[in-house]
């Protein structure tokens, strides 16, 4: 899901950085002292999750977990994901520094959308936690795939070709992320409920 160097056009890169600067800046501004450790832990989780490859059929998929991070961090997910992606780009050339802005938006916007949709349901106990976890994991990867298609189209790709390929390639990731998010939420509910209802 990371866009490599040299794929995006200059206007897309500039717009991506501009939007990321605004969202990350606002996220840092709103970040409370007591939430910094929690945000750091989830940022590190996001950093490591992308490196965990799970064998699936002939190939393998890697976890993203942006939905889960968005649900548990709220607006702070922008800075958590930005910092994690920056170190992935510097240390592993995952994505790239020029596409860092777009990659951050691609991961963090769906995470924040999931927070807006599912956070009330989680707080008011409208739906069971594992179900919310699965929906969050599934939807966030789906939305990230959709955004990725849009960014590629803006850089000259054909939308339906890109969207179809990305959607098909990420179906296993959507399911995997959904299952992992469901398990994590269930685990937090039993072991450390303040992580969910903070």
């Amino acid at each position: 899901m990371h866009i490599s160097e040299g794929v995006l056009s200059f206007p897309v890169i500039t717009a991506g950085y501009a939007l990321t600067t605004v969202t990350v800046g606002m996220s840092l501004w709103q970040l409370k002292d007591k939430d910094i450790v929690r945000t750091a832990v989830f940022s590190a989780t996001f950093f490591v999750a992308a490196l965990i490859h799970i064998p699936l059929g002939p190939g393998n998929v890697h976890l993203i977990l942006n939905g889960l991070i968005g649900l548990l961090l709220g607006p702070a997910c922008f800075c958590a994901i930005f910092i994690a992606l920056a170190f992935q780009a510097v240390l592993f050339q995952f994505g790239g520094l020029t596409s860092l802005g777009v990659n951050t938006l691609n991961m963090a916007l769906p995470a924040y959308v999931c927070y807006l949709i599912f956070s009330p349901a989680l707080r008011k106990h409208i739906l069971p936690e594992p179900l919310i976890g699965f929906c969050v994991g599934f939807l966030s990867v789906f939305l990230s795939g959709l955004l990725l298609s849009v960014f590629l189209v803006l850089s000259g790709d054909h939308f339906w070709n890109s969207a179809k390929l990305i959607f098909l390639a990420h179906i296993p990731v959507m399911v995997m992320d959904g299952l992992i998010a469901a398990m994590v939420l269930q685990f937090f509910k039993k072991v450390k409920p303040e992580m969910i209802w903070n």
């Binding site: 840092l28 832990v41 590190a44 950093f47 393998n60 390929l165």
Partner: protein, 202 residues
């Protein structure tokens, strides 16, 4: 002294209810900070993206594209550029094994780009030494190789080629020590954010 006070404050805000989590976090933070400061200058350019490896086999450019974990980049678009003037020399696609071969008629240095779609892109630059003409005074030693010698040389070459590919794949995988170093840097950045926010507040 002020820095030490800020670090103490960070530790003050760590989870208290679960003391095990607190201890693990503190221990991990210390270890990773030390490791990361030690390791970051050594970060090599091993790539975790679509990897491309190319070499010349007489007048044929051969190459292999693969994702992390060694999964081949199948049916990916390959574009070969002249490195000197950035003109396209030729295009092709990889097969099911992620490999390709293309005849190259010039001896210019090459830049090969692999486009695997979905924003995945890999590059490989092949600097080529131009063929050196033997000077007149130099005696050129020519000798015929027997069929068995040729077969033995070919076998050795194939073993070496396989070994180079294995090493390339190994180097493209992130190693645990660098992953820990990355986590350390993330903790360091958030510590810095905390200090800056505290300074602004005061």
């Amino acid at each position: 002294m002020e820095l030490i006070q800020h670090v103490r404050l960070i530790f003050h805000y760590l989870p208290r209810r679960n003391s095990l989590l607190r201890d693990v976090f503190l221990c991990f933070a210390k270890m990773t900070l030390i490791l990361s400061l030690w390791l970051l200058p050594e970060t090599a350019a091993w790539a975790h993206k679509v990897n491309l490896f190319c070499y010349m086999d007489n007048d044929t450019l051969r190459g292999e594209g693969y994702f992390s974990g060694g999964r081949p980049a199948q049916k990916a678009e390959i574009i070969i550029y002249n490195l000197e003037n950035d003109t396209v020399i030729g295009t092709t696609t990889t097969d099911e094994k992620g490999v390709f071969a293309m005849k190259i008629n010039t001896d210019v240095p090459l830049r090969t780009v692999l486009n695997a779609g979905q924003g995945h892109r890999g590059e490989f630059v092949l600097e080529r030494k131009k063929a050196v003409q033997p000077r007149e005074q130099e005696a050129v030693i020519e000798r015929d190789f027997s069929a068995s010698e040729c077969a033995s040389l070919l076998e050795e070459f194939q073993i070496l080629e396989q070994r180079v590919r294995q090493l390339e794949k190994q180097n493209s995988e992130p190693q645990p020590v660098f992953i820990i170093s990355g986590v350390g840097w993330i903790i360091a950045v958030f510590s810095l954010i905390y200090i800056v926010k505290k300074q602004h507040a005061s």
